[in-house]
């Protein structure tokens, strides 16, 4: 209870500390005072006893001189009246005249203290008639118990005084601390407890404490409240501003036509907007069905491509730009930009470029297509040839170039007119397309000059086989309208690519082979 009080009450603690100090000091002083009093009292007692002996000395002389037991007895009785006297012995010529008291009382209470050598007073008694003659002696043993009692009595007052002083100091300290410190602090604490600091309410300054530490404390608290209110206001404004901006950005994000997303290295999508779902053709159902949506799953056949791009972006920390088509739908194209955010996170922005892409592809197709026959034109041939040359050099693959000229086309044209010539060209083109493999490229370079590029062949054999079939097919009569048929043939030159050779040399070889077929009677093929 008291310990709790000391722990929780400042006044109790101060009072206890000061009381302890006063008590300890008091004890020390009391002990010193008792010691001093003891010495003084002992001195006083001894002086008193010496005086006593002085007083009775002349009678003592007589008693010893006469060896008068009666007189000695009276003296002893008289001395014993004194409370400080424990024992008295009067001797004359080594013979005890009178004795009283217990001589061991003094020894008992002496406690072996330094005063022990003063435990007894003894005097030699000289003859009353001759100073030089010793006629006896007296030994007087003081009662140290009485001395101690006297000391106690004389220090009792000091003790009481000390106790009263302690009580007054304790009470005074408690009152002063309570009035000057505890109560103002408690008052401030109570007010602080109820204070609505967020409204800017200030702590009232206690009267009388304006200029002291408590006043300082209150002023500091008020200053702090001001400061916090200021900060709070700023924060609030900033937060509102940020909320508005966030909302704005969120709206932009949500309503953007551009797909915006963040993707981790492993393809996991951490965030995306509705446009993303639209562009990547993800339905709500897909979203819920999969525990975790990854970019690679959505990319389907393009997953490897995307994975490469993501890795490159992450490694080089540079933006990667690519176009790819979604879900293997050739009409849906996305333009995708990947930006590096941090070690494991990329940001992606994707726009639907299907329209542009299709237009672009259409234009390209148009540019490389022969408008009459629908197969490739010279530009398309040049592109494809360049690609094949590149590929064959990279992958150590061969391709075959087949050049073809129609026989007697000029005659058909001259005989039946341009329209009939065009019909023949269209029919031949169809024949070529039907006979060729899907991967082979068929083009008309102009007039009646056709060309075929056979990819991935390591001998002339597939080309010669195709040439045989073509010669046979082209030789069939061609319906040129109005129930009329025309017959043409073809002269074919074949050249197999090799890596050391230039494109021009390859073309020359094919050309030369074709020329040879023409020279040797048409409707045949040669390899060069």
């Amino acid at each position: 209870m008291i310990i709790r009080l000391i722990k929780t009450r400042l006044a109790a603690r101060s009072t206890a500390a000061i009381l302890l100090l006063v008590a300890v000091l008091g004890m020390v002083f009391l002990a010193l005072a008792m010691r001093l009093a003891s010495v003084q009292e002992t001195d006083r007692q001894y002086r008193q006893l010496e005086g006593l002996l002085d007083t009775v000395e002349s009678t003592l002389q007589i008693a010893c001189f006469l060896r008068d037991r009666e007189l000695a007895g009276e003296l002893v009785a008289g001395l014993m009246q004194n409370s400080t006297v424990a024992a008295v012995t009067i001797t004359a010529d080594d013979q005890v005249l009178s004795r009283a008291g217990e001589s061991n009382r003094a020894a008992q209470s002496g406690d072996g203290q330094p005063e022990e050598n003063r435990a007894e007073l003894s005097r030699t008694i000289r003859s009353p008639f001759d100073e030089t003659k010793i006629v006896g002696g007296i030994r007087l043993i003081p009662d140290r118990g009485v001395i101690r009692q006297e000391v106690m009595d004389s220090t009792y007052f000091v003790s009481v005084l000390l106790f009263v002083q302690m009580a007054i100091i304790g009470l005074g300290t408690a009152i002063i601390v309570v009035r000057l410190v505890t109560r103002p602090i408690a008052r401030i604490s109570r007010r602080l407890h109820r204070l609505k600091a967020e409204t800017g309410e200030q702590l009232a300054l206690p009267r009388g404490n304006e200029d002291d530490e408590i006043g300082q404390l209150v002023n500091d608290v008020n200053a702090m409240i001001d400061y916090l209110i200021q900060i709070l206001g700023k924060e609030r404004k900033l937060r509102l501003q940020r909320e508005v901006e966030e909302k704005k950005f969120r709206t932009i994000f949500e309503n953007a036509e551009t797909a915006i997303f963040q993707v981790e290295e492993n393809g996991r999508l951490t965030s995306f907007n509705p446009a993303f779902l639209r562009h990547f053709q993800v339905s709500e159902k897909d979203l819920h069905g999969k525990p975790q949506l990854t970019l690679y799953d959505l990319a389907g056949g393009q997953a490897t491509l995307l994975r490469e791009q993501v890795e490159a972006c992450r490694r080089n920390r540079t933006n990667r730009e690519l176009e790819f088509n979604v879900a293997e739908d050739p009409t849906r194209w996305l333009h995708l930009v990947l930006s590096y955010l941090d070690e494991n996170l990329l940001q992606g922005v994707a726009n639907d470029i299907s329209e542009r892409k299709l237009a672009e592809m259409d234009a390209e197709r148009r540019a490389t297509t022969d408008s009459l026959t629908g197969i490739g034109n010279r530009a398309g041939f040049d592109n494809r040839l360049a690609r094949l040359v590149r590929q064959s050099q990279q992958r150590n693959r061969h391709f075959a170039l087949m050049m073809m000229d129609l026989d007697f086309f000029k005659e058909v044209n001259d005989t039946y007119g341009h329209q009939a010539g065009d019909a023949v060209l269209v029919a031949v083109a169809t024949t070529l397309r039907n006979a060729a493999r899907k991967t082979d490229y068929v083009a008309r370079l102009g007039g009646d000059e056709f060309v075929l590029l056979l990819d991935d062949v390591d001998s002339e054999e597939p080309a010669t086989r195709l040439a045989e079939k073509l010669l046979e097919d082209i030789a069939q009569p061609i319906d040129i309208g109005n129930g009329v048929s025309a017959s043409v043939g073809a002269s074919i030159g074949i050249a197999l690519s090799n890596r050391e050779e230039s494109v021009d040399d390859l073309i020359s070889r094919a050309d030369a082979a074709m020329y040879r077929s023409k020279q040797e009677g048409r409707n045949q093929f040669h390899t060069g």
Binding site: T59, I62, F65, L66, R67, D68, R69, E70, L71, S127, P128, F129, D130, K133
Partner: protein, 149 residues
């Protein structure tokens, strides 16, 4: 008036004593059969002040005061004034251990008593002695070193 009378008396007494001592000093006397021939100062003090009850020879002592010469005797013996001596005896009134010497008025009476008592000792002016007593010591001659025979 009283003071003056007292003064005169004291003066007279002193003159008288001085003249007696100078002209006829006091001597210690004893019975010839007392068994002592001389006496030192200590023994004299012990006998006259009541400490010893017996003479050195074993005979019970009977000390005698010569009333008129007490002043001189005690001054010479213990260097004390008469009031001091009286006070000494007064203290012993009740103890009964010791009693003062008998008071004798004249030297003749002293001589008479000493002559008739083996243990008696007294003092008289030197001129007053006769052959019935022995002179133990001239008081002026008493020394502490004297020893009894």
């Amino acid at each position: 008036m009283v003071r003056r009378l007292f003064f005169i008396l004291v003066l007279a007494g002193q003159l008288c004593a001085t003249s007696l001592a100078q002209e006829e000093g006091l001597v210690l006397i004893a019975n010839p059969e007392s068994g002592i021939k001389a006496m030192d100062r200590d023994t004299a003090i012990n006998l006259f002040m009541g400490r010893f009850k017996k003479l050195p020879s074993g005979i019970t002592a009977l000390p005698l005061d010569l009333t008129g010469d007490r002043e001189t005797f005690y001054r010479q013996l213990v260097n004390k004034r008469l009031p001091e001596i009286n006070s000494y005896w007064a203290r012993l009134v009740f103890s009964g251990r010791a009693s003062p010497p008998r008071q004798i008025e004249t030297p003749e009476e002293v001589l008479e008593i000493v002559a008739n008592n083996r243990g008696a000792i007294g003092y008289v002016p030197r001129g007053a002695t006769d052959d019935r007593v022995v002179v133990l010591a001239d008081l002026f001659a008493l020394t502490e070193r004297d020893t009894a025979p």
